[in-house]
Subunit: 339 residues, 2 copies
C-alpha cells in the first residue's frame, strides 16, 4: 500500500485564505485497476484560479467541496502502471491536486519529455498559464506590429508570456509588476519595453506617460486599480482579453462606491472596445499543438524566457498560495514535492 499526504479544504475563506482553511491528512491509496497509473508528485502548480475553487460562488468550474483535496496541476513520476501507454519512470503532467501521491486514470495524463525542457515548465510557460497567454493574446488580443500592449502581474507565467509574445508579433510591451526587483526583471530578463511599479503613488501618471500612442491591447489578469488606470488610455477598437482579476479574488460583498460601472461601460461604447472573458480550455482543441510547437521553439531560441519561484515541500503549499494572492511570488510559483 502507498500512502499519500494530502491537503484538503477545511473551510471556505471569507476574504483572504488563512492556514486554518487547509488541513493535512494521510490516506492509503487503493490498488491499481486496469487503465490506472500510480503517481508520485514531483511538482505542484499553485495558481490564482484556485482561490475561486475555494468559494461556492457561481463560476466557470465547480468549487472544491469541504474535505476534498485541493485541486491543481502536477508533474509526477510513474511508480507503477496498469496502462500500456505509461511505464514506471515516466514523467507526466497530471491533475492530482495538493497531494504527494495519487492513483490516476491514464487518460488524464500527458507524458513529458525531460530532454525537451525542464519538466516543471509543463506547469508554467509550456502549460496552462502559457497557453492562457498564447490563446488569449492571439485569438482575442490580436496584436499588430506597432501596437501597444499592457499586461500586469507581468513577472508571472501568464503576464511574462503575454509580453514576450506581443514583442514577437512586433508590438510594444508595457509590463506592470509590484516592486523594483520585479520591474528590473521585466526589463532585464523578459525584455519588456517599459516596466512600471503599480505601487508607485503616481502609477497612473507613469502609465499615461509610457503610452504616448495609447493602449491597443490590455491583457487583463488583475483588475483593481491597474484596470482603473488602463481603461482611460485605451484606443478606439482596443481589445481586452480578460483571463483573471486577482485583485478581486479575496473580496467579499459589494464594495463601497462610487459606482465605477457607468463610466467603464460608457468607455466600452465610446471607444468601440472589445472586452472578452475567456478560459483557456475554450481554445485547446484549436490551438494547443501550435502553442506547444511555437512556444517550445521560441524558448529554445531564447526569444521566450520564464521565471520560476520554487517552494520546497508540500507542507509549505498553503503559505505559498496565500502569498501568491498577495503578489509575494516572483515568477511561476511551483511547490517541489519530491525529487
Amino acid at each position: 500500500m502507498v500512502e499519500s499526504t494530502r491537503i484538503v479544504l477545511a473551510s471556505r475563506p471569507v476574504g483572504a485564505p488563512t492556514p486554518a482553511d487547509f488541513r493535512f491528512e494521510t490516506t492509503e491509496l487503493p490498488p491499481l485497476e486496469d487503465g490506472q497509473v500510480l503517481l508520485r508528485t514531483l511538482y505542484l502548480s499553485l495558481d490564482p484560479y484556485m482561490r475561486g475553487r475555494m468559494s461556492d460562488a457561481e463560476s466557470y468550474a465547480k468549487p472544491v467541496e469541504l474535505g476534498q483535496v485541493m485541486v491543481g496541476a502536477t508533474v509526477a513520476e510513474v511508480l507503477d502502471s496498469r496502462d500500456s501507454g505509461f511505464a514506471k519512470g515516466d514523467v507526466v503532467l497530471a491533475y492530482s491536486g495538493w497531494q504527494s501521491a495519487d492513483v490516476a486514470s491514464a487518460s488524464t495524463l500527458r507524458k513529458l519529455d525531460p530532454d525537451q525542457a525542464p519538466v516543471s515548465t509543463a506547469l508554467g510557460v509550456l502549460g496552462m498559464p502559457g497557453f492562457t497567454a498564447y490563446s488569449g493574446l492571439l485569438k482575442i488580443g490580436q496584436p499588430q506590429a506597432g501596437e501597444t500592449l499592457v499586461v500586469a502581474a507581468a513577472t508571472g507565467p501568464v503576464g511574462a508570456t503575454v509580453g514576450q509574445l506581443a514583442k514577437i508579433k512586433g508590438a510594444r510591451a508595457i509590463g506592470i509588476a509590484g516592486g523594483p526587483e520585479k520591474c528590473a526583471a521585466l526589463r532585464d530578463k523578459l525584455g519588456f519595453d517599459v516596466a512600471l511599479d503599480h505601487r508607485a503613488p503616481d502609477f497612473a501618471d507613469q502609465l499615461r506617460a509610457a503610452v504616448p500612442d495609447g493602449i491597443d491591447i490590455y491583457f487583463e489578469n488583475v483588475g483593481g486599480h491597474v484596470a482603473d488606470a488602463v481603461y482611460p488610455l485605451l484606443n478606439t477598437y482596443a481589445r481586452v482579453p480578460v483571463c483573471g482579476m486577482i485583485a478581486n479574488y479575496n473580496a467579499s460583498g459589494r464594495p463601497d462606491g462610487p459606482d465605477r460601472f457607468p463610466a467603464f461601460y460608457a468607455r466600452i461604447l465610446t471607444k468601440s472596445l472589445t472586452v472578452r472573458g475567456f478560459i483557456q480550455t475554450e481554445f485547446v482543441r484549436e490551438l494547443y499543438p501550435d502553442f506547444l510547437r511555437e512556444v517550445s521553439g521560441w524558448i529554445a531560441e531564447g526569444r521566450i524566457r520564464y521565471l520560476e519561484d520554487v517552494v520546497e515541500g508540500l507542507d509549505n503549499a498553503p503559505e505559498a498560495f496565500i502569498g501568491l494572492l498577495e503578489g509575494r511570488n516572483f515568477g511561476k510559483l511551483v511547490v517541489k514535492v519530491a525529487d
Copy 2:
C-alpha cells in the same frame, strides 16, 4: 435669398436638457456654389446620441459648439441644385440638423426613392437606427437558431429592428419597454415572443422567468437597471453588442455606490462574455448595401415592421427630444418640418 429657421445649442445641459438649452434663430442662407444643393427640410430625425453631442465630455464624435446648429439627419426636398446628380424636386437623405432649410454639398446627400418606402424610413428602419441594429446584431451578436435575445427600448427603431432580425435568424426575442401600451405593441405589431415592462416592481423576476435557457445575446442600448437584471442571466459565450446606454446619458458625476463594477467584470470572466462597443459607421463600407437590400425586402414582405412617432413642427423639436430621453416617444421619433 432663402431664410432658414434653426435651433442652436444655447447651453450645455447638466443632467436632463431643458428648453432653455436650445435657442431659435433665423438666418439667411448664402447663394449656391458649384456642387451645392438648396434643401428644404421635410423630416428631422431625433435620436438619443444627440444628448452626447450636447456635452463636451470625450466621446466618439465632436460635441456641438455653443451657438452651432444642433446636428441631425434629415429628409429634405431639393429646391435648387448646382450639381448634376440632383434636380429640383428630388428627395434626399441629408445631415442638415435642426433647421428648416440648408445649403449642402451634394457629396453628403443620398437620393431617396419615394416609391420604395415612405421617405421618413430613411431616418429609422432603413437608416442609421436600422443599420445600427443590423450591423451590431449580425456582426457582434451573431444570432443562432434557438438562441435567446434580449433588447430594451424595443419599440424604438433600433430595438424593434433587432428583435425582428433575431426572429428572422431563428432566435427567440424578448423585448423590454416602458408601459403596457408599448408592451402590447411589441407582442401584437412587432412579433416579439415576450414583452416585459421594465417599470414593473418585479421586472428582474419576470425577466428570469421569461428566459428559462438563459440569454445568449443582449443588445445593449439602455444600460441602467435593465442591464443589472440581464447580466446575471447571460449564458457562457453570450455576446453583448453595446450601441448605447440612454439610461446614463443625463447622468452627471460619478454615481454613489455600491460599486457594481467588480461583479460585472467578474461575470465577463466567469461566463466568457464578449462585450463589444460599436458605432454603426464602423460597418458601413462592408454591410450597408446588404442592409438596404435585405431590410427593404423584409419590409416589403411584412417580416419587418416599424413604429413611427411623428411630431409636427420644428418648434416642437426641443420638447420632443427631452421626452425621447425619458422614453416618452412611441417608435422612431421624427419631426415633420414641412409637407
